[in-house]
Amino acid sequence: MSELDLSTTLGNAWFPTPIFTASGCASSGRELAQFFALNEIGGVVTKSVMSKARTGRPTPRMAETPSGMLNSIGLQGPGIDVFIEKDIPYLVSQKARTIVSIAGETVEEYSTLARKLRSVAGISAVEVNISCPNVENRGLVFACDPEASRRVIDGVRRTLGGELPIIAKLSPDVTDLVAIAKGVVDAGADALALINTVLGMVINLDTMRPHLGGKTGGLSGPAIKPIAVRAVYQVHAALPKTPILGMGGISNGRDALEMIVAGASGVSIGTASFGNPTALVTIQNELRELLHAKGFASLRDAVGFAHREEAGK
């Protein structure tokens, strides 16, 4: 069983296992290193970083919901320069494979971030989080606008050149996810990350107002798993050659396998780490055992397996 090949690729980046942290759910990596070695898993996806330091949204920033939670962090972070100076060297020192997530408020900001990352050693891929309000267009979230999504990815692609793979991270809060996916792949994304959180709200019955400081927040956790599996399945059916980093509510090996057979080449674990700091390694071990039990010789054989032709049809 130890022979089972768990390795995967996202664009031209190779990873020994398909298990990744989810952006914003592992901070810069240091915090989890007490619970497992960061190089044991497929890779670390860092918290989305912007060009300047940001203090984020007011508290309360979270609310627990049935089998899930809402968060409203507002991309608090140190800004790209401090990030490159302090966080990347740490991850490199831990031999962690690193996917840097970037976020911007303008098409230009994304390109600026890409330019700064271009020359940084030790990065495996760039995840482009386009679920941010576009300040140039009425605050409309980039990922909800096919044209804006394309332009962001196009800008990042031009800036990065052909080296680093680009993973475009999409929002499920759209009428036609496949159209957005096709657009960003056309614009140069090598892979897709699906799904970001679903927009939600909780009302606090003590104050009788929205509970979160930012009023709305992003829903994550097991509650959204069926939405995430559907998104991955739909997009893999439409774009079978584009690798997908699947996420949304994965809490155990079975969830990970569900996502993989739906079409994901790798999976990110977010909220599950909050409930269980060792979730990533537990899930990785469970996935390995399950793949073995189901008779797969490698992870690769399982990717998209739920789409196979039906016998006799």
């Binding site: 914003g24 759910c25 592992a26 901070s27 240091r30 915090e31 989890l32 290193a33 007490q34 619970f35 918290k47 203090t55 984020g56 949204r57 007011p58 508290t59 309360p60 920033r61 979270m62 627990e64 049935p66 089998s67 899930g68 939670m69 968060n71 962090i73 608090q76 400081g213 956790g221 097991p222 809490s251 909220t271 599950a272 780490s273 909050f274 409930g275 269980n276 700091p277 060792t278």
Partner: protein, 278 residues
């Protein structure tokens, strides 16, 4: 660079005992050798609701006391208020139940190197970590005075054995059902001017901590407070538990109360900006 969460481990702790004390439950957990790493101010994060629970997040509780127990090895004590579903579940756990805990987490109260005079102020279950703290301070030779407050008598947690390490203990309730009627903050200004207090340690509702800080800011007294913000992860990875804190240079940033707290220097916390956008 110091490692974050460096003493923390995830383990299954057995419930050694669970007793009702007023409106709270005193719960003792066997955490084995891990107990040696637990210091006053640290907290535990507990998985609640069992296997099929719809609650996905851990719950944070201050470590009230640490004991080396012959039968069980190290144990930690929690004082839990049955508030919502998660804490009620915890309060319903019986002796022998195994509970998934991550511990110890967060910063600990700073202990003076000299035997100075200190004041401990607790609100509600906020008194829990203060008795363990008093023991340590007492062993260091400090004179420990304690003020406890709550809305009503059975929300005061003040165990007999805890009083041993305390030189004086005064209790305040808003309804006057125990001790003096009034707020725990009322006597602090005169105490600070009458006694030679070097440090005020506080734990309780945020509003109480802020009120104490208003008082200590008028003085030279150090204020070490254990803050309480909603926490999704307890280990520094989610950024939900932040509050605005200044550094020595006066630059304010949003620090995580789970790893840069819960114990913080009250003078640096920007109390008026908690819950605001910076």
């Amino acid at each position: 660079m110091t490692m974050i969460n460096k003493n923390a481990a995830q383990l299954n702790a057995m419930v050694v005992s669970n007793k009702r004390v007023g409106q709270y439950h005193q719960i003792i957990l066997n955490v084995g050798d891990n107990a040696e790493k637990c210091k006053p101010g640290n907290f535990v994060a507990i998985k609640v609701g069992g296997d099929n629970s719809r609650m996905v997040l851990r719950r944070a509780f201050a470590i009230s006391r640490v004991t080396k127990n012959v039968a069980f090895g190290g144990t930690i004590e929690l004082i839990v208020a049955p508030h919502g579903q998660g804490s009620k579940w915890l309060c319903a756990q019986q002796e022998g139940a195994l509970i998934d805990v991550v511990t110890p987490l967060g910063t600990a109260f700073g202990i003076p190197t000299e035997p100075v005079q200190v004041l401990l102020v607790g609100g509600g279950y906020g008194s829990a970590p203060l008795f363990g703290l008093a023991e340590v301070l007492n062993a260091r030779g400090c004179r420990v005075d304690m003020l406890l407050g709550a809305s009503t008598a059975n929300k005061i947690y003040a165990p007999m054995e805890g009083k041993r390490s305390v030189n004086s203990l005064r209790i305040f309730t808003e309804d006057g059902s125990m001790g003096q009627k009034g707020r725990v903050t009322d006597p602090i200004p005169s105490l600070l001017s009458d006694l030679d207090i070097a440090v005020v340690y506080s734990c309780g509702p945020m509003a109480m901590l802020a009120a104490i800080n208003d008082i200590t800011m008028q003085t030279e007294v150090i204020h070490q407070c254990a803050v309480e913000e909603s926490m999704a992860c307890g280990i520094g990875i989610c950024m939900t538990c932040v509050l605005p804190v200044a550094n020595a240079q006066g630059e304010i940033s949003m620090l995580r109360s789970c790893i840069d707290g819960p114990v913080m220097d009250g003078a640096l916390v920007q109390w008026d900006k908690v819950g605001e956008v910076l």
